[in-house]
């Protein structure tokens, strides 16, 4: 960062605002961006044309696709995802992805073109108040109306997006500012008094937490994406191993620990595992790390872990006591906090307590997992497809899932051996996330096998991104689990609305023909005996591959915590 000027070799050079945009990106180390051109952003596209050797621009087929691709890229690599869009509809099309990034703490910098500054507020062609529209869903946003503001605004944008609890930032640049000239002088942003990204660790609180953990008979760890975002996987593992702590991940915490680690007791939440949900209401000390007690995790708050002392290790002070009352709050970055805790906790095993988890795991295995993975029904189950991917791969894939039953099944059954290898829309539950996010993940991690798991509903929400795969020859693997239903909604209709299947039946087109049209290798199977071979073929195929599996139409995802129920009321059927 110190040698930016040398790196970019253009210090104090006179240039246009649009050139300043691309040189700011280069100075930030950005070499891949996602976007879609249009009138108000054309000068920036023109400037990109000159730096094609430094920045690759991925033309998605919709601006929503650009945001999800940038999210997939950011989640897989830990870098900031960058999107570019024009004013008006281009900008509004970004909103879903920005909202998704906001709730899932994904660092994004979105740059939108805006009408010329003297037209602001006049309902000019393709003018929308994107600053106003995006305000509730951005960590920060800013409108640039003068070229000279550009380097500073972008430096600040990157700083804010990636520091502390990461999130999306939007910079709106009027067209005249893109044309104007400035003396380019890029300095990385160092911080501002009104923004403390990472609270200073309070060692007294760490001690208090350690005392509670050391005296606990039934301690239980809940961990979320905070572990991944802080790159604290190693410290986390050391911490739980030393103190002998059974640990459950939230959907956003997936892959922060090896799936098969002896202390990994599975997933929390509505469709999570039986043991961690049940035992939340039996533990004596609950240690939440980098997670925010989402309502899908807690169920009824009035009956949530009332017996337990709660320790919350968290970077965002606004999360403390937001949903669950905390006894000890350790504010700070998870890596620093855990480092400090490791030294203070006593080595323990908690064998008997862990045994409680094992018992319930067995129950869940017999009631649910065994049936899901070895079904007797003629049509395949989603679980057996995921299981075959586990079996025939080295489990070092990045699994990108969409939203619905297949997502829950993928998150429940996929094995993760590598950090940052689960990418899914957790907080917003955005159907259509998977396909573009998988593209972004693959572009960020070209040497890793990236497998998208998607439903027939969500697939058609961003299906146009097949065009992006075609144009950029992105070697993603797509597994369509086709149940010809909006499965998750249908499951709720079955369970809570007397099987009144209002608008959840999907009459689908021939996906094989469509996907083939995009130059992607396709296969469709509906018989179990073809599954093994199809998965093997997909995994070993060099290019992009689309595998459509016809699965049971009216299968349900269990276990399940019904809305309003307590975590301990989790049902196995």
């Amino acid at each position: 960062m110190e040698n930016l000027a040398i790196k970019t070799n253009i210090r104090k050079q006179l240039m246009t605002g649009s050139q300043a945009v691309v040189h700011s990106l280069i100075a930030e180390g950005v070499d891949l961006i996602f976007g879609y051109p249009g009138g108000a952003i054309m000068p920036v596209y023109d400037a990109l044309y000159d730096v094609e050797d430094k920045i690759t621009h991925i033309l998605t087929r919709h601006e929503q696709g650009a945001t999800h691709a940038a999210q997939g890229f950011a989640r897989a690599t830990g870098k900031v995802g960058v999107c570019l869009a024009t004013s008006g509809p281009g900008a509004t099309n970004l909103i879903t992805g920005i909202a998704d990034a906001q709730i899932d703490s994904t660092p994004l910098v979105c740059i939108t073109g805006q009408v010329t500054s003297h037209l602001l507020g006049t309902d000019a062609f393709q003018e929308t108040d994107i600053i106003g529209i995006s305000m509730p869903v951005t960590k920060w946003n800013f409108q640039v109306t003068r070229a000279e503001e550009i380097p500073f605004a972008l430096a600040k944008a990157f700083f804010i997006a990636k520091s502390g609890r990461p999130g999306p930032v939007l910079i709106d640049i009027t067209k005249d500012a893109q044309f104007e000239t400035l003396h380019f002088d890029y300095k990385p942003f160092k911080g501002m008094r009104s923004y403390v990204p990472t609270p200073k660790l309070n060692l007294d609180k760490v001690k208090e937490a350690a005392t509670l953990i050391n005296s606990a008979k039934k301690p239980f760890v809940l961990f979320g994406q905070g572990v991944l975002l802080a790159r604290a996987e190693k410290e986390f593992k050391e911490f739980i191993e030393k103190a002998g702590l059974p640990s459950a991940w939230t959907i956003m915490g997936l892959s922060a620990l090896d799936s098969d680690h002896y202390l990994n007791v599975g997933m929390l939440g509505m469709h999570g595992n039986y043991a961690p949900n049940k035992l939340t209401n039996e533990c004596d000390v609950l240690i939440a790390i980098g997670m925010r007690f989402d309502d899908r995790v807690t169920g009824d708050l009035n009956r949530y872990a009332k017996q337990a002392k709660v320790i919350h290790i968290e970077i965002d002070p606004a999360e403390i006591d937001k949903n669950v009352k905390t006894d000890v709050a350790v504010l700070g970055n998870a890596k620093e906090s855990l480092k400090a805790l490791i030294d203070l906790v006593i080595k323990k095993e908690h064998k008997d307590w862990l045994e409680n988890f094992r018992k319930l795991e067995k129950e869940e295995y017999n009631e649910v997992i065994k049936k899901e993975l070895n079904p007797k029904a003629k049509l395949m189950s989603m679980g057996e497809v995921i299981n075959k991917i586990n079996l025939y791969s080295n489990q070092k894939n990045i699994i990108v899932s969409d939203v619905g039953q297949h997502q829950m099944i993928a998150c429940r059954y996929a094995k993760f051996k590598q950090t940052r290898s689960s990418i899914t829309s957790g907080g917003l539950g955005t159907m259509g996330f998977c396909l573009p996010a998988a593209i972004g993940a693959k572009m960020g991690m070209p040497d890793t096998q990236v497998i998208g798991i998607i439903g027939d509903g969500g697939f058609q929400m961003t299906i146009q991104e097949l065009g992006t795969i075609f144009q950029f020859k992105t070697a993603v693997k797509i597994v369509l689990l086709n149940n010809e239903f909006l499965g998750m909604v249908r499951q709720w209709q079955e369970l809570f609305f007397d099987k009144r299947y209002a608008s959840t039946t999907m009459v689908n087109p021939d996906f094989q023909t469509i996907v083939k049209g995009y130059g992607i290798k396709v296969k469709k199977i509906n018989k179990r005996e073809h599954l093994e071979e199809a998965i093997k073929e997909m995994l070993s195929y060099e290019g992009s591959y689309f595998l459509e599996v016809m699965v049971g139409k009216e299968n349900n995802v269990f276990p399940m915590i019904a809305t309003g129920a307590s975590v301990s009321e989790i049902r196995l059927k």
């Binding site: 106003g132 305000m135 509730p136 160092k190 008094r193 009104s194 200073k200 606004a318």
Partner: protein
Amino acid sequence: MDKKRFTISVFTEDVVGILNRVSIIFTRRKINVESIAASESEIKNIYRYTIVITETENQVKKVVGQLEKQVEVVKAVFHTDSEIVHQEIALYKIKTGVLASGGNAEKIVRSHNARVLSVETEFSVIEKTGHKEETQQLFDELQPFGILEFVRSGRVAITKPMKTLSSIVLQLEELVKN
């Protein structure tokens, strides 16, 4: 938990759009803002918003946490009425004739320690500073004489227990340097 009246003081950088960011935190929880006042604070370029809401303490804490989380919010605090010194200003426009007639109106104005700001041939403007109950009382008493126009400002409040803003800012600026 019972709802109470709280005064929230939000200190922000002087930037376009911050009022919008602040108000979103209230609207997303469907909290009605009873009054809002904004001005520069004792420190140049730091603005002070005084916002009054009636809510449970629990809810107010969360709101203040989310306010402070905004990148351009320097500090946000909340207080009950007993922890602050607060005032509102009200202006009343009445017919000058009512005041000049030597009747009760003038007595009422004087007894409230209100002040006649301006006297025109047609109308006069009276100013009263005080708590809402007090400015309301004057309103009620003047109403029989006919009030042509009435306006009341948002509450402004100075907090009793609080570290000085400048010490907070200094501390934050040290953090950035290190």
